[in-house]
């Protein structure tokens, strides 16, 4: 049912304007063409996975054309719609029997194949939505840049752009997950890693991947993520999420890439496809790094602290420690009150809300900083805290309290000792 709705939606998107004026002959011809295609696929199927894919396609075709049943019942001859579908299914059963397909294995693989179909539709849906969002981003960015040259860009327009970017980022993240789930579902049908597949199975997987546009989707995902990174309207906090997204994508690719390479190497023409994804992914990682470190530098500047330029974790740590050392040594010879004010500003506006709770954990999680580097930074901040704090009023209060208590005890002892003497007198 859901499949049917997706097909209907895609159909409406593709042929929306022409829907009111359509040739019924064309509908019938398209249906008959699909039936012929399925029949050919059945006759040439050689594996249980191919049979499962055909079975899923039969279901999808039936869902897609169910709204046209009245027309097809009249137009198809000698069978009607239901009989036509039944005949294709019967033909597939005969083929399965010829191939010796075990029913339970077929059922399990068909279930996976249905999941592949569903995921493909979801990926297509999100791809179409993303294309629209990207068009919106382009339009808004252009409007803002035009306004920027004339007057101050309208804040509402900037907010709209940020909303669209946020939605695009969420969609990209969701689609990334779906794409890898789709590729994984195809491999799982074969129940063994890429390198253990026979040549026939590899060709089967490759055909399925191609039909589902899997590698194209992966390449498109990287390209659109790169597009997102180019936007000037992104803020520092966005980059933390983007870095996590890139890391997750890379991790998924590391798992599936070798399997895909194994399959794609079977065909000369497509041998370089996986290498191309690798290079695109490297470009994405480099661009993410560049934007993440730039955003972190901007954050320091925004809060009134200037670090020496940095482009990786090591440089950032060195730069950060250098700034801390200068503050600890009080290179500018500032008075205690000024130093205290600066540290409080750093601590409450940058260190605690932004770095310690936001950036640092993300940078460690995405491998851009090591836990050791973060520890070093924390130690330096504590050192700066101690240097500016001196002896705090709490310490004075504590000392006063201890002195008071001691004085009271001594006084009590003195009174207690002098009492018997008085009695003796």
């Amino acid at each position: 049912m859901r499949t049917g709705l997706w097909f209907l939606l895609i159909g409406l998107l593709v042929s929306g304007p022409a829907l009111s004026q359509r040739s019924e002959r064309a509908v019938v011809d398209a249906f008959e063409g699909r039936i012929k295609g399925l029949t050919r696929a059945i006759d040439t199927a050689r594996t249980v996975q191919e049979c499962a894919e055909i079975s899923a396609n039969i279901d999808a075709l039936e869902d897609q054309y169910r709204p046209e049943r009245d027309l097809l019942d009249k137009a198809l001859y000698p069978d009607d719609f239901v009989q036509t579908m039944q005949k294709v299914r019967d033909r597939l059963k005969v083929r399965q029997a010829d191939l010796g397909v075990v029913e339970t294995q077929f059922a399990r693989i068909t279930e996976l194949e249905l999941r592949v179909v569903e995921l493909t539709e979801q990926v297509s849906g999100l791809t179409a939505e993303n294309a629209k969002l990207i068009a919106d981003v382009d339009r808004l960015t252009q409007n803002i840049s035009l306004l920027g040259t004339q007057a101050v860009a309208d804040q509402r327009m900037i907010d709209s752009l940020r909303t669209v970017l946020k939605k695009l980022q969420q969609n990209l993240s969701a689609r990334d997950k779906l794409i890898f789930a789709l590729v994984d579902s195809i491999f799982v049908q074969y129940g063994k890693p890429g390198m253990d597949l026979t040549d026939l199975e590899k060709r089967g997987v490759l055909a399925k991947l191609e039909r589902r546009d899997a590698l194209t989707s992966i390449k498109r995902a990287i390209a659109e993520n790169l597009y997102l990174l180019e936007s000037t309207a992104l803020k520092g906090s966005d980059f933390a999420e983007i870095a996590q997204q890139q890391k997750a994508f890379q991790a998924q690719w590391q798992g599936l890439g070798p399997k895909l390479a194994e399959v794609y190497y079977t065909e000369k023409r497509k041998k370089n496809e996986v290498a191309l994804v690798d290079s695109m992914l490297a470009r994405w990682a480099a661009k993410t790094d560049e934007r993440v470190w730039a955003a972190l530098g901007d954050l320091f500047r925004e809060k009134g602290f200037v670090l020496e330029p940095f482009a990786d974790g090591e440089q950032f740590t060195a730069s950060f420690l250098k700034m801390m050392d200068a503050e600890v040594r009080n290179d500018r010879n500032e008075q205690s009150a000024v130093r205290m004010k600066l540290f409080t500003n750093f601590d409450t506006n940058l260190w605690i809300p932004e770095l310690k709770t936001g950036w640092m954990p993300t940078l460690v999680e995405t491998g851009k900083l090591t836990a050791g580097q973060v520890e070093q930074a924390e130690e330096k901040v504590e050192e700066w805290r101690r240097a500016v704090a001196g002896i705090s009023w709490i310490t004075y209060v504590l000392i006063a309290a201890i002195v008071g208590v001691l004085a009271w005890v001594i006084l009590r002892l003195f009174v207690w000792k002098s009492k018997p003497a008085k009695q003796g007198d």
Binding site: Q21, E24, R25, A26, L71
Partner: protein, 152 residues
Amino acid sequence: MRTAFVVLLVFLLGLFGCSSLTLRPADFAWPVEQVVKVDSKGMANVMRYSFTMNVKPLLFEETGDSTNVARWSIRVLRDQRGFYFLTADGFKHVYVFKQADAELAIEERILIAEQGISGSALNQRAPYVELVRDGGPAVKLSPDGIVEGGSK
């Protein structure tokens, strides 16, 4: 008396024999149009309905050329009443024919577009026939002409 009875009987039998027998209603509508290639002799064979016709005169009427006929594909649809609607991409008209003795006789020429119709297709919309085309609204047709949506 007997002679009169025999005469009456013969008269009545003759009367019944002369009266027409009508089967009503009859629905001749095809569910979808048939698109048929014209062969080099100008014959169009509608295989689904085992029905062949010579469309050379139609092509001559529409294009003024009856020699170069093999490039045409004719769209044919029969309506509920049994009239045949014929047109093709590039035609200006939809032609309506009725069946006669081993022939199709013209009933109506319906002008659709002076510059010719493109992307044409006929749909069954009983009791009418619908013509869809590129760059114009759908037109509802009856054997008498345009019923709805036409712009001549």
